[in-house]
């Protein structure tokens, strides 16, 4: 960590001697258009991804908390993508979302719907990454929320039923508030992981087309290993760390307002 901080204060291409530049790496980055773009893309990724996995995971958790036949088989199925590596998921979805002969576009075409260029189109590259990431992590969110659901005591529901509540009211007044610790965990973890998104972007789009899906960690990687600007890369990684830290601290501070422990 110390050496990373040290490197971030230098101009260095990994080979020739380091040259002291003080805070110039930081000021350069903060004034750089590219930095703003990669942070914006990362933010779009997080903001697009989180509601999908949370809503999807919640629906699944509610459904699979019911008495269904084959429940544990279904849970295992939904969890399978979670154990698969990001690289595989990214490759498989890159193939499914192939603009010319990918399965998804064939289906869309068959239904007479527009066929986006997905990872070859600057407007669709990020959504393609978000979709495949959401598919992979849905099972993870489901399991966390299932564990949360099962820790809610059933007598609370019984009491509410006696008081004449309908199931919709019970969901909003009991389930969601008592699920808030699990929700909090999912949100914190997803934000931390989301800001560090790299593997799926690297494999699926390589940050392209034309940098339209480049994210912060991708930029750190490219700066170091493609452009030999290790100093700036280290500085950028510290900026990223600071951002994640600030967001996490804010969330922990803010949790008192909405997280209820049973």
């Amino acid at each position: 960590m110390v050496s990373s901080l040290w490197v971030s204060l230098h101009k260095w291409n990994l080979i020739s001697p380091m040259e002291w530049v003080g805070l110039r790496n930081y000021t350069n980055l903060l004034g750089d258009e590219m930095t703003r773009r990669v942070f914006l893309h990362t933010l779009i990724y997080v903001v697009g991804y989180l509601p999908i996995v949370y809503a999807g995971g919640l629906l699944l958790a509610l459904a699979l908390n019911q008495k269904l036949k084959g429940r544990s088989f279904l849970r295992a199925t939904y969890f399978l993508p979670v154990v698969t590596s990001w690289v595989v998921v990214a490759l498989v979805w890159k193939w499914l979302l192939n603009p010319t002969n990918g399965l998804v576009n064939q289906l869309l075409g068959g239904l007479g719907l527009p066929q986006p260029g997905w990872w070859t189109d600057p407007h669709w590259a990020l959504p393609a990454v978000i979709l495949s990431s959401a598919w992979k992590d849905l099972g993870f969110v489901m399991v966390i929320l299932l564990a949360g659901l099962q820790s809610i005591p059933t007598d609370v529901y019984e009491a509410a039923k006696v008081d004449g509540s309908n199931s919709w009211q019970r969901f909003w007044r009991i389930t969601l508030p008592l699920l808030s610790p699990s929700t909090f965990f999912v949100v914190v973890i997803s934000l931390i992981n989301g800001f560090q998104v790299f593997d799926q972007v690297y494999v699926m789009t390589g940050g392209g087309p034309a940098g339209s899906s480049q994210v912060v960690v991708g930029q750190i990687y490219d700066l170091t290993f493609r452009y030999g600007r290790a100093g700036e890369a280290s500085a950028l990684s510290w900026i990223l760390f600071a951002v994640i830290l600030i967001i996490t601290v804010f969330q922990i501070r803010g949790q008192r307002r909405w997280v209820h422990y049973a």
């Binding site: 960590m1 990373s4 490197v7 990994l14 699944l60 459904a63 699979l64 019911q66 008495k67 269904l68 279904l74 849970r75 295992a76 199925t77 939904y78 969890f79 399978l80 993508p81 154990v83 698969t84 590596s85 690289v87 595989v88 490759l91 498989v92 979805w93 193939w95 499914l96 002969n101 064939q106 598919w135 849905l138 099972g139 993870f140 399991v143 966390i144 299932l146 564990a147 949360g148 529901y157 610790p181 699990s182 965990f185 560090q196 790299f198 593997d199 690297y202 494999v203 960690v217 750190i220 990687y221 290790a230 890369a233 280290s234 990684s237 510290w238 990223l240 760390f241 994640i244 830290l245």
Partner: protein, 274 residues
């Protein structure tokens, strides 16, 4: 556990979860189908039933890279790093929970701090370290960042703290030392936590990509995710070969998953209810 009351509601529920499950499973099935489709007919568009299934893509894969070696690398690195994390993690956890030594809380604070620092911040200095020590392209380089995990120490410390002190005291009266207490009392009692850490360590190592990408150049030391990503570069248009590689890398982890499924899901759920 509520019972959906009406029959239509129940049917709708089944339909929804089954469609969902199909969406989860189909990409895997599609990967297998693509890998056995003759290359020429891929352009014709998708068919679920392949007319002339072929293993050509797998043959091309075998020629393109030392795939067996890569699988063994992945397995070896995952097993060794899991074992190391369990050993170092449980010992550190015991130390933090049971021993008294100066600056204990400060050192534990440092552990927690490293939990917060993302790998990305450490990639450049770790890379430099490997380079100056001339350890690029070695198994040691692959293992180095995974020898100890702060997450594991944290989780295991919680588990050790939950073991009643009286057990230790009774054992001490019977003349047992720390080593004895650790191996015969504490370790068996924290098995669920150990399983959770093992699951995370194994999955983490098996799927890790950024670090191998940084320190490994030659195919002999590659792990599966890295091998796969280079495959993509070599066969940009040959999706059958890329999907064959995907199948090869899904199968081992899928087997591990099916065997250990209960523990994996329980382990993940367990970390959520902190």
């Amino acid at each position: 556990m509520r019972d959906p009351r009406t029959l239509p509601a129940k049917i709708a529920l089944y339909a929804a979860v089954l469609v969902g499950a199909a969406i989860m499973l189909f990409p895997f099935l599609w990967t297998v189908i693509t890998s056995i489709t003759p290359e020429g007919s891929l352009a014709d568009g998708p068919t679920v039933f392949v007319d002339h299934p072929t293993l050509n893509a797998y043959r091309t894969l075998l020629d393109a890279m030392p795939i067996w070696r890569i699988i063994l690398n992945s397995l070896g690195v995952a097993i060794v790093s899991t074992a190391l994390q369990l050993v170092t993690g449980s010992m550190a956890a015991y130390g933090f929970a049971r021993l008294r030594f100066p600056l204990k809380n400060v050192i534990f604070g440092f552990y927690l701090a490293t939990l917060m620092v993302p790998l990305q911040v450490l990639v450049v200095p770790l890379f430099i370290e490997m380079k100056t020590l001339d350890l690029q392209d070695t198994y040691f380089a692959l293992l180095a960042p995974t020898i100890a995990s702060a997450f594991g120490v944290f989780l295991l410390r919680q588990a050790v703290t939950a073991v009643p002190m009286e057990l230790d005291e009774a054992a001490t009266i019977d003349g047992a030392g720390h080593l004895r207490i650790f191996t015969t009392i504490v370790l068996p009692l924290i098995r669920p936590a150990l399983a959770t850490v093992a699951v995370f360590a194994f999955m983490g190592s098996w799927n890790s990509f950024l670090w191998p990408l940084v320190v490994i150049r030659s195919p002999e030391f590659m792990t599966l995710p890295l091998g796969l990503s280079t495959l993509q570069g070599q066969f940009t248009t040959q999706w059958d070969v890329v999907m064959a590689g995907s199948v090869v890398s899904i199968v081992p982890i899928a087997i591990v998953y099916l065997v250990a499924q209960r523990h994996i899901i329980a382990g993940v759920a367990h970390t959520g209810i902190k």
